[in-house]
């Protein structure tokens, strides 16, 4: 019988079937960061257990790290304590730590792929829900909690139930000014934030086939926002070309056999899916969220929907969103004034994102009323962007060019909204209070749309700015 990639990766990594009905699944790569690991290391110490596969475990620092200074100790004592904790834990448990001194530091979901650690056919775990990003390579990648981080440190395994599988095909050709971010926001808008609960998403179709790896990462990154346990794209020539020559990918004579195995892990024609959803990419327009979850999204030329437009179980959340955001159904989203523009995050902090945003930034200057920051996803992204002069493009236009980290996506560092500020953000969550102010407001959109909002001081259709038509 024809198998899916999920079937094959699952079989290859199954250690045993547990009495609980879960699978004991071997984890090929464990990514660790400073926020969800200290308690796990502490529990490991209390149990007097070592890290079972330290060479399959890699750590970095991203969530709490300031983006305005390299100076240690950090001004924030709690952040400094967390930094020292991960340094100490990595030393005592024998784990590689990519800190700023390494030149490889960055958001955990940016550095894994760019170093070649993330490869097709792997199982990956990390104490972060956006671990689904790595599925872009045809890996099965799970975000987990701290107790499960402990489990993986101790046993290199997870106890987990195999999810059901939904194939999502996006066919057609994306219009100019419409990006991977718009595709995934459209998918979540269509299937809902609960639509993926209990599922893995397999993304396919001609739109995905033509996407670069960075674009596929943006799509897979937000699988969790649709409720899915993970999301992936089958590996193809685009995947193999991306990995060739990466520092930690198979080298020299090992590369072709690796490609052979990677290719063999892809879903086969005729494989069975629990659900199939087909969407048209040709008719998409730039998408902007208007509410308090990523499913509350509309095209930039649309109006905020009326409560009556929602299913019964989404209506109360819509009403809650009108109140929190402070606007009324029927109002257009375009023209909404923004106070802050944030370009960065594991969703959209890669080189191609910065290039697209810079293309827009070249067209004008940031409105004086807007605070605009660009936070590259990693030190490697920053180096490449600087080599291309993108940092100067942004600075000239009035954006601040920062050091790599998660920054204002979740505001665990000093980058926070203040009061009821509205932020045009290339990140992944518009939850209440997400960007550091309990009453702050987030509008999710593509990096190019964020740049457009920064120049105009309001939500604007980037297609118009780029000389096309809405």
């Amino acid at each position: 019988m024809a198998k899916t990639l999920l079937d094959k990766v699952w079989e290859a990594h199954t250690v045993s079937e547990l009495p609980s009905g879960q699978t004991q699944l071997f984890i090929g790569l464990h990514l660790v960061h400073e926020v969800t690991s200290p308690q796990a290391f502490q529990m490991l110490g209390e149990l007097k257990l070592p890290v079972l596969f330290p060479d399959r475990t890699v750590a970095t620092v991203d969530h709490i790290i300031p983006t305005h200074t390299q100076t240690r100790p950090f001004d924030d004592e709690q952040a400094e304590t967390m930094m020292r904790e991960i340094e100490r834990n990595c030393r005592s448990f024998g784990i590689r730590l990519y800190d700023r001194a390494s030149g490889h530091q960055g958001i955990v979901h940016v550095i894994g792929p760019e170093m070649g650690l993330t490869q097709p056919g792997l199982t990956i775990a990390c104490g972060d829900s956006h671990t689904s990003t790595h599925g872009a390579f045809g890996s099965i990648a799970f975000g987990v909690g701290t107790s499960q981080v402990r489990d993986v440190l101790a046993s290199q395994c997870l106890a987990i139930k195999k999810p059901r599988l939904r194939r999502i095909e996006v066919n057609g050709t994306l219009p100019a000014g419409v990006y991977a971010k718009d595709v995934i926001l459209h998918i979540i808008r269509t299937l809902g934030v609960k639509g993926g609960v209990g599922y893995a998403y397999e993304y396919a179709g001609t739109v995905l086939d033509r996407m670069t790896m960075e674009e596929r990462m943006t799509v897979c990154n937000m699988s969790i926002e649709g409720g899915a346990r993970c999301g992936y794209v089958n590996p193809d020539q685009t995947t193999f070309d991306y990995l060739r020559g990466r520092e930690l990918a198979p080298q020299g004579p090992a590369f072709e056999p690796a490609v052979g195995w990677w290719r063999s892990m892809a879903s086969e024609p005729g494989a069975a899916y629990d659900e199939v959803t087909r969407l048209d990419g040709s008719g998409l327009s730039p998408v902007v969220t208007w509410g308090i979850n990523p499913g509350q999204a509309i095209g930039v030329t649309e109006r905020i929907p009326d409560a009556a437009a929602f299913a019964a179980d989404e209506r109360d959340v819509a009403v809650d969103a009108y109140e929190y955001m402070g606007w009324k159904p029927g109002a257009p989203i375009a023209g909404t004034k923004v106070d802050v523009a944030f370009i960065g995050s594991c969703t959209n902090g890669r080189l191609s994102d910065l290039r697209e945003a810079a293309r827009v930034a070249r067209l004008g200057t940031v409105k004086p009323s807007v605070k605009a920051i660009v936070v590259p996803g990693s030190q490697a992204v920053a180096r490449q962007a600087e080599a291309e002069g993108l940092d100067e493009v942004f600075r000239t236009a009035g954006f601040e060019w920062r050091l790599p980290g998660c920054s204002m996506c979740l505001a665990m560092n000093p980058d926070k909204l203040v009061g009821r500020q509205v932020c045009a953000s290339s990140s992944n969550r518009n939850f209440k209070g997400r960007q550091g102010s309990p009453s702050g407001r987030t509008l999710l959109m593509s990096p190019a749309m964020v740049a457009a909002a920064a120049l105009e001081g309001a939500v604007s259709d980037v297609r118009v700015l780029l000389g096309g038509s809405a």
């Binding site: 009495p19 609980s20 004991q24 046993s155 395994c157 979850n293 959340v317 550091g436 309990p438």
Partner: protein, 206 residues
């Protein structure tokens, strides 16, 4: 690792937490994640929903006088509770506030798994049953609610509500095998055997 801790019933005062798609950023804002332990998180549960910028109570249900019972608590929630961030700080905060079990229409996957790892059952009930139970509790919250995982029931003031959870997870609680590390390490050499079968570990081309 201590002895097996079986969870068959959880009994305590109920507290309804109404709303669909309540995300873990709301359950615990990110600034409370800046710590190297889970200690003291109970006070931070739903902090920004409970207090304004000056620290004054907004009258959230967690702070309503009639919901201030001591001891074990059982939360009743709606759909997709715990969506968003994987932060285990969310169930840890609820646990430290006193919530030892949840009854809801549905739960987000990662949140559900985190709760299992802490020995906190999340059981599901139909929309109608959850609505009826919430109404009964809001009418009079001053009684104990019992969730019985063996019988798959919740009982409040003499009325029994049907609840469910996946059979395997139910067995984990009933047998006390919800401690992941212990169960996983029992596989011993099979973990290494599985690893050695994988070409990316054995070495490609070998």
């Amino acid at each position: 690792m201590g002895g097996l801790v079986k969870v068959q019933t959880v009994t305590g005062r109920p507290i309804p937490l109404r709303g669909n798609d309540i995300d873990t950023d709301r359950i615990i804002p990110a600034r409370y994640l800046k710590a190297v332990t889970f200690d003291g998180l109970g006070h931070a549960a739903f902090f920004d929903e409970r207090f304004d910028a000056e620290g004054h109570s907004k009258g959230h249900i967690l702070d309503e006088p009639r919901f201030q019972a001591k001891g074990t608590r059982v939360a009743i929630v709606n759909k997709n509770f715990g969506c968003g961030s994987s932060r285990e700080h969310a169930p840890q905060a609820l646990l430290r506030w006193g919530i030892k079990a949840l009854i809801g229409e549905s739960f987000a996957d990662i949140f559900f798994g985190n709760c299992v790892a802490l020995g906190m059952p999340c059981v599901t009930a139909s929309e109608a049953e959850v609505a009826a139970l919430m109404a009964a509790v809001e009418e009079d919250p001053a009684h104990d609610l019992t969730v019985d995982l063996d019988a798959r029931t919740a009982t409040y003031r003499g009325r029994t509500y049907a609840v469910d959870l996946p059979p395997g997870v139910r067995n984990q609680f009933l047998q006390g095998t919800w401690d992941g590390t212990r169960v996983l390490l029992e596989a011993g050499d099979r973990i290494h055997q599985t690893a050695q079968r994988l070409p990316y570990i054995r070495g490609f081309g070998k």
